[in-house]
């Protein structure tokens, strides 16, 4: 909690670490848990990753130092949320106020994304097994 993000910590612990792990294990149970050893040397991806890392490291130089109170990110809408949300929304937890009220449309969009992903999962692996034979000759 050194980053003061309690809500994010709880969500990540419950949703990120919990559900994602279950999904991952379920997939491994359905597919194969073992990977074939490959002798292919992956030089190009290594170079691409290192190049990206170098660009990011170059970009770090322009960031404000960690936990700097004068950083531009803290001088835009955040002070307004912190100062006015108690009056305007009336909940002590500012994260909840912003999530459900100031940025309610974001949350609506999030629900849309989850719904679409759920539909996609059902379409992909819901009840397609009986059609596999017909598609074999393609």
């Amino acid at each position: 909690m050194t980053l003061d993000a309690v809500d994010v910590a709880f969500t990540e612990a419950a949703v990120g670490a919990g559900i994602a792990t279950i999904l991952m294990l379920a997939t491994l149970a359905i597919t194969s848990a073992r990977q074939k050893p490959s002798e292919k040397r992956a030089l190009a991806p290594m170079l691409a990753a290192v190049a990206t890392g170098l660009v990011l490291a170059y970009g770090l130089a322009d960031l404000p130092p960690f936990a700097d109170p004068e950083a531009p990110a803290h001088r835009h809408v955040a002070p307004r949320y912190l100062n006015e949300s108690a009056k305007e929304i009336g909940i002590p937890n500012v994260v909840t106020s912003v999530l459900a009220s100031y940025r309610g449309y974001d949350t609506l969009g999030e629900v849309t994304v989850i719904f679409t992903a759920g539909v996609g999962v059902l379409v992909l692996i819901g009840r397609t097994r009986h059609r596999r034979r017909e598609n074999d000759d393609e």
């Binding site: 909690m1 980053l3 003061d4 309690v6 990540e12 990011l56 500012v94 759920g118």
Partner: protein
């Protein structure tokens, strides 16, 4: 001395850079589709850490209003990442469903085996 403090002022961001490099490498280099998804998740987590680190303020506390505190962490990155975590799990589920579907069609989640199968099917046509 000043170099050391310079490095520690950006410590979180260095971790982010390393995690992004790791995730990217796994996504590109690993032929196993499930492990590609894991690489994507590592990449995603790096972005989460980046945002949450940006929201931190020296001497601040969690953004829950109370008379005892006057300085709070920036709540906006927390909200964005809260949304991103949930969306990330949804996209992970979709990606894994794709992997399962591919496994049902090809009996494999290895990229090279799938490519070999495709090449064989093309020759047969």
């Amino acid at each position: 001395m000043s170099l050391l403090s310079e490095i520690f002022a950006y410590f979180n961001y260095w971790v982010v850079v390393i995690l992004i490099m790791l995730g990217m490498y796994v996504v590109m280099a690993n032929p196993n589709l499930v492990k590609k998804v894991i690489g994507l998740n590592i990449f995603q987590t790096a972005v989460f850490i980046f945002y949450i680190s940006m929201g931190e303020i020296e001497g601040g506390t969690a953004p829950i209003l109370d008379d005892a505190f006057t300085r709070y962490a920036n709540p906006l990155p927390h909200v964005l990442i809260l949304t991103a975590i949930v969306v990330g799990v949804a996209t992970t589920a979709l990606a894994l469903a794709l992997a399962v579907r591919i496994y049902r069609a090809y009996e494999s989640v290895e990229e090279d085996e799938i490519d070999a199968e495709d090449a064989r099917a093309e020759v047969q046509e």
